[in-house]
Structures are given as C-alpha cells and as structure tokens.
Symmetry: D2
Subunit: 214 residues, 4 copies
C-alpha cells in the first residue's frame, strides 16, 4: 500500500467553501485501490500553512503528498509543474498578512519542479473523464507557498518522499450568479484519484506536449 | 399536467456529442412534478431544424416549448431573452450551408422576446444549484434560428403556446484537453428541470437585474 | 457633403474618461473627406440621453447619425447589428437610476436593425488597420438605450435618416494596472472615420460572414 | 552611458510580423536618454536563438540585456519574473522542432529570477501610459528558452550583466478580424523605453503587489 497525504485549504477571499477541502474529503472517503489516504486541512495563512503541512507529514509518514488548492477562474484540474520561491500576495491571507516579494524559504533555490510524473497525471485525469492540463505557474499566493514548502521539505529532509500540487476550479455553488467556470466536487475528486494512482504507479513521466507559448 | 416539448440538437462543429440532446433525454427520463415532457432532436441544418420543430409541436400539442442548444465557451445555463430575425453562419451547418445575413422568416419582425419569465427561470436554476444567467444574444446560428422560428410560430399560429431557449455549456468530456468551461449533463438537466417548473408555474416575471453593460 | 452627427458619452462606472467622447472629438477635428461632422456628448442617464440625442438631431439636421459608446472588455471596434427594446441596468446610471426590464419606448417594437451597412463598416475599419467585428448585442444599458431610441426616431419621424451604433474598447490609460484590452483613442478615431465613410457611401451591404455561434 | 542590448524575435506561428522586433527597432531609433541601444533579431528556433543571443552579447558588451517577445492574447506589457529550465513546445518552432520536457540547459538550476527590478519596471511602464503587469510565467516555448538562456549566461559567465524578459501583445494589424487584445507598436516601444530607464537606474526593487492568486 502506498501511503498518501492529501491536503486541502480552508476557504479564503470571501468564499464560504474551498472546493479543495471538499474534494480531498471525498477522496479519503473512497480512496483508489492500493492507496491509503490521510488528509489535512491547511490554513490560508502564510507560514502557518507550512507548519501544518510539516506536522501532517510527520504524523502520517507518507510516501506521496499531494496538496490541492482552489484556482478560481480555471476550467479543469491543473497539475502544477514548478514551485517558485516567492510570496507576493494580491489579497491578504486569513490572518490579514499580504507579503510582497518575500521568499518562501530564505536562501532556498529559486524553484523546484514537482516530484510527480506531471504529464502522466494529466493524462490519467483526462482518461477518467476530467478536464485537465499542465500549469506553468501556481501563482504567488498560498498555493505556491505550500507547494514550494513541500518541495523544499522533500529536497532538504525527506528525499524518498514524492509530491506536488494540483489546482481545481470553483465548484458550481460558488458561481451561481457569476460568469466563471466550475467543476463539481465529485468530478474533481475523480480526477484527484486518477492523479494519485498515476503518481503512485510510476516515477518516470510520459512524453505529452503540455507547454504554453507564453 | 402541463405538457412540455423539450428539444435538443444533434452534434455539430466536429463534436461527437451535443450536450443539449443528452440533457433533454435525462429530463424526459425524470421529469419535474406536474409536467409531462416529450422530446425531439433537431438537425443542425438551417430550415430543416424548423420543419422538425414544427412537426414536433404538431405531434405533441404542448403548452410550453423549451429549445436547448450548446454554447461552447459559456460557463452556466443561459436563458435567452431575445430571438433575432437573421441567419449569419460563422461555420457551415451539417448540410454544408452557411447563410450570411438572411432572414429566418422573410418579412418577419426584427426580433421576438422569449415567452418565458426569463428572470424567474434564472433564479430557479440558481436555487437548484446550477450556475445561470440571462443572455442578451442567442447568436446568429442554428440556436437563434430555431428560437426565432419557435417564437414566430407562437406569434402567428399558436398564441396560447409559451416558450423560449436555453443555452448550456460543453459537457466535461468535450473539453478534456481544452481550456474551456464545462457543466456535467446531470447538472444541466437539473437546471432545465428548474427552468421548466418556473416557466410552467407563472407568466409574469420577477424583478431581478440581469442586464449587460454592452 | 453628407452631414453627420456623431455622439459620445460622458464617463460612467467610476471611470474618469469615456473614450467614446474623446474619439468623436478627434473625428470632428479631422473629418473624412466629403463629410461634415457635428458632435454631441450624451449623459449617461436613462431618458436624458435620449432627450439630448433628439435635440442634437434637431439642431444639426444630419443625413447620418452614429452613436458611439465604451465597451470595457472588448478588443476592437464593434458595429452593432440590433437594438432591443429593453433597459436592464447592471449598475446605476449617473443619476442613480437602475431600471430593470423596462422598455426603452413603451409600445415600441421588440428590436430594430441598424440602418447602416454593418458588414461594409466592419470591412472598412479593418482596411484602415483597426480591429473590428459585428456585435450581436449592444447590451441593455445606456448604449442600447440610445441606439434603440435613435432607431425608433428614424422609424417614426425621420425615415430619410440613417444611423447606428459602434462600441469602442477602453483606451490604454483606463487599464494601466488592469488585465483588459485597450485601443488608443487615435486608432478608434481612425476606425470611426472609416465606418462613417463606408456608411455614407452606400446603402446596401456586402456579404461578409460576421455571425456568432451563440 | 548604459549600454543596452535589446532583442526581438522573427515571426512564428503563421504570423507575418512579430511586434517584438518592430518595437525594439523603434526603441533603437529613438533610445531613452542616457542609454545606447543595440538590437538583435533572434530566430524562433530552439538552440539557434540562444547561439544568436550569445553572439549578440559578445559583439555588443552590454550592461543590460532585455529580450522581448510576442504574447498573443495578453493585454499589456508583461515583465517576466522567472525563467524555468524546460522546453515544452505546444507548436513546432520555425525549424520544425517541438521538444517536450527537455531542459534548456542540461544540469542547470530549475529556474532563475530576472535580474531586473521587476516591479519598478512595471510601475515605470504604467507611468508612461502603457498597461503593464508582472507575469509569473514566460511559458515553455522560445521566449522562456531565451530568457532562461540569458539568465544562465549571466549566472555562469557574466556576473556583472543584468537582464530579463518582457512580453508584449499582438499589434493591431495582427488581429483585425480576431477577438484578441492588441497594443500598437509605438505604445509597446514607449513602454519598453520606460522599462529600460527603470532597469538602468536602479538595482533594488520597489514594494508593489504584483502577484497572482494561482
């Protein structure tokens, strides 16, 4: 059995739910074959979120960590390719802080690639009927913060651990009267299960074009 | 019992499914309380689609007709406000025709408003958990063609009939590798049931801002 | 000489300029050959704007009226095809009013087509180097209000008059820190001159596909 | 005098012009005070573009290098924050190659930050009347390839050199009949002059929020 830690976030930005936390609960309730899935809910607070992630990794001793966050405005699952060492907050976090151009980890490298077969994860989600793509940026807010923190933890303390980050769209209830794409939580959970199975089953990636012109 | 005719379209534009036809089949299989729902599948062919609509109206003697079509790129259900007397095809229809600036009905009025409580329909879909909005244009392709034809039929031959048009987004399977919004067919069907119930239950509309700045 | 009345709007929605008024002033300062251009600035107030338009038509006795407005978010000039008999304000006008689903003219027809060779106007703007397209909706706010009022005036009182409506994008200064398309006022003015010349020179239109799928 | 090397690209993707090359020619023809500007045109070919960049740096011995590329679909200038060590081509380059998930420099670090005061550059462009923002990704095509190659050259061979990358939108002539944002070349050149002046005049950056939520 591969031990998986799956994280979601608390709501932020005035939303009442965060689909990432809803989706990871569904995955834990019905995990993919061959995986044991533990979950943790992270605060939308710079610093605190990384403390919580580190504690959850310590408590669950996972083989694979997948952090999940909400990307309002995106249409499908996006598997993040690269975590960047910068916090630059367009809105305040849930503790009222809005760092500008501050490193996630002082002295850390500029960026880390995900320790996931990113293209295989995208292909697996699509094969499960869920729109998915590679993303070239996880932004500079809490999602990138946690993603970078995870990759730095792997690089500096837990070399056998693998992991990465997936963004999911709003769920329909968040956009009833707004013109923004959505994806039901059930479908996001289906996609996450496919991603986990793909990530647990291989280390090398597949050759699948997934780049962006700019 | 209110008798409803619900129409969807065959696939077009290189797609293998048309979510409008999938959704109306689901509504017919589990209709809302108090409504009997008959369905018809319209060709994506100028002229032919209107012949088929007229035949279906004749065969089912409905109290209410709701025509449904695919609006690739939209995020939620959109209840159309106005049908315009013009065919202007950006791509060829399924018979290879692409009329430019031709009236749907020669000598017909410039436009008809939907004979639906448009705002109440939008509010009902939202209350059922489905993203929805008013749309100010149904385009100038098959959807507007059928919508105008329906309203002209009502205006000239069937004054007791009520009806209108709803656009629905792509379903997820159409956009697995594309960056475009989608809505599962089940959710579209839920929204259509809410729209039908709202439309069957009232003639006057509610006051709900739903306009566009441009 | 063809006598042209060209109108722009005052700023609204928190903006400090309205590019429509800036652009029409530039056109008047350097009108196209063969045209005399008079301009009027309309209030962003339901009702008042139509009174001002009627007064300007009376004062200038034009052969052609082109009303111009700002369409924030659009990328190029859009020549409007159809004016609809509804006011439905998403935001309050400059007098604080926000009508919902009120006719522009009680008892008026549902819609009017522009009395312009719409496709020829689009082609002329493009030939002058200005991005342009046909628009299927002028919205339900002040722009549509004025457009419908103009067409109703033509239909009921001034059958020899021709006219229509063109939307233009934000100018760059409005979007310095926003992710929205813009078009410099000089380029919008160049496009408007091309539109006026095309509209003054012909009554029949050209065959050019310019429709929308939805 | 600060010596500047400014690069643009040849056309690609079926376009007949590349606004980046047009704009850098205009900057060189009328450079900002205190700067001497030399320009080079890079091929849209993986590998070759970096050879050309290296040769141009060798020939011009610049203090500052700014590479400029076209970002079709963006609305304003975007000053890139980070270059990533990956080539992943969504379309073939001008030599017919389309690498997938290949490093720009084998064994190079995952990413480099721009050696530019990114926020000051954005502020300067806005102050000059040009829409501008920070971008969190330069994509994975030729622009990122050249950006990464430049930063690697600086890091490994030319520590005194500073530099970075700016994306500019389509110019209007490229989108006459397309719904995509554009910016006239003159305005892009104005923005580039402001960026160069800001970059030449300071090393530390200003505190200006410019991040992305995802």
């Amino acid at each position: 059995m591969t031990r998986v830690l799956l994280t979601g976030f608390e709501p932020f930005g005035g939303e009442r739910v965060n689909p990432s936390w809803e989706a990871v609960q569904q995955v834990a309730a019905a995990p993919p074959d061959g995986l044991t899935v533990r979950i943790a809910r992270l605060s939308c607070v710079f610093g605190t979120a990384l403390d919580e992630l580190r504690a959850a990794v310590g408590a669950t001793a996972p083989d694979l960590v997948l952090c999940v966050g909400q990307a309002g405005g995106r249409s499908g699952l996006s598997v993040e390719r690269v975590a960047v060492n910068v916090d630059d907050a367009a809105i305040a976090d849930n503790a009222g802080e809005a760092p500008v151009d501050r490193p996630v980890v002082a002295g850390g490298p500029v960026a880390y690639f995900a320790a996931l077969p990113v293209k295989a994860c995208v292909a697996a989600a699509r094969a499960a009927g869920v729109p998915a793509s590679v993303s070239q940026t996880a932004g500079t807010y809490l999602c990138n913060h946690v993603f970078y923190g995870l990759m730095h933890l792997i690089a500096t303390e837990r070399p056998a651990l693998r992991g990465g980050f997936v963004h999911i769209p709003y769920e329909p209830g968040q956009v009833l009267g707004r013109d923004a794409p959505s994806l039901p939580v059930e479908l996001a959970a289906t996609g996450l299960r496919a991603v986990l199975t793909a990530a647990a089953g291989r280390t090398g990636d597949i050759a699948l074009a997934g780049g962006a012109l700019h």
